[in-house]
Symmetry: C2
Subunit: 175 residues, 2 copies
DNA sequence: TCGTGGAATTAACCCAAGTCAAAACCCATG
DNA sequence: CATGGGTTTTGACTTGGGTTAATTCCACGA
């Protein structure tokens, strides 16, 4: 069976309003979410209340807390809707079980995990090797759409600088 | 079949001296490597000659360039031995094909990818949310062994600071 | 025991970004 | 069209870490 169908057949749809959370840091949550429409952000909240944005999630993307799914731990980040969202939730268990029974699904899962791992690897590279300014430059090049969708405040928290910092970077870059 | 056996049966052993590369940034390389013994480092080299260390690889770990394996791109980083190493190389293709034929292997691969993805997620968190000093603290807590195995220079490049920077952090931390 | 070369530390100086606080801007709404 | 809330920009000041270069440490071989 092909993955798209598997998801619709085994998952449960849900919709969320802007501002609503799908799960929060510390929750137990054992599902993978597929985004049909909308926009979400995954973020960390530090002990002193600072927000750091892990990623933005767009239609066609999927997200879930690996930690919470796999190791029986709790979610290390929160997932919140920035716009009205239509999602499909799939218990991780369901997916995991069919790895051993359905070769098509297991192929699809491997691809899913591979593309996920590659994304993380790129992000790791950017955070390790590039300056905030370079990361900003790359963002404008690779996904300019995102700039329209979220506040500059959020872009900053995604790039790993403060809003004030990003404002200064912008000025520098355009000059 | 169980993964360990699968690897020994389908892979080819190789050994490398300290200083020898397994592959270099820019290479085409379509294998996954399993480390039997030794120590390696995966690193990025920037245009202006600066080194940034992606990770250290210890016995029992596995590594390969996802980019080069999957998307037909070339390796985004280099892999070099820090000590004499015994490795097993497994063509990615072999692994990928048996996902569809052998449920045990495909389960093992999914686990492999999951643990890989989780590691990357932790690293992403550290680079995004923690200061260099916090990262250093965490390193001493979580894997103090590594401090004995590599130079402080390399620890610094792994943490994302210069050797000079790390020296200052150390002084601050011990006080 | 004395060099010698690589690793680590220290010092002096600089710059990017953080912090805090005060404008300025930008709308939506009444 | 004025008001008020949120977002962005600016300014003044501080700080962590980069850079370069000098110095100290140490292990090791002659």
């Amino acid at each position: 069976m092909e993955l798209g169908r598997f998801i619709t057949e085994n998952g449960t749809s849900l919709s969320r309003e802007p501002g609503q959370h799908v799960f929060r840091q510390g929750d137990q949550n054992a599902s993978l979410y597929f985004v049909r429409t909308g926009l979400l952000k995954a973020y960390y909240l530090s002990a002193d209340g600072k927000e750091n944005i892990k990623s933005f999630i767009l239609p066609g993307d999927h997200i879930g807390s690996l930690m919470a799914n796999h190791a029986g731990k709790s979610c290390s980040f929160s997932l919140v809707c920035l716009k009205q969202c239509e999602l499909v939730a799939l218990p991780f268990r369901t997916l995991y079980q069919s790895v051993r029974t359905d070769p098509d699904i297991s192929g699809a899962i491997v691809d899913l995990l591979l593309s996920f791992a590659m994304k993380k690897e790129v992000r790791e590279y950017e955070l390790l090797c590039l300056s905030a300014e370079d990361r900003y430059r790359r963002l404008i090049e690779s996904t300019p759409e995102i700039l329209k969708l979220v506040t500059q405040n959020e872009i900053a928290r995604y790039l790993g600088v403060t809003p004030v910092g990003l404002s200064r970077i912008k000025k520098r870059v355009m000059a």
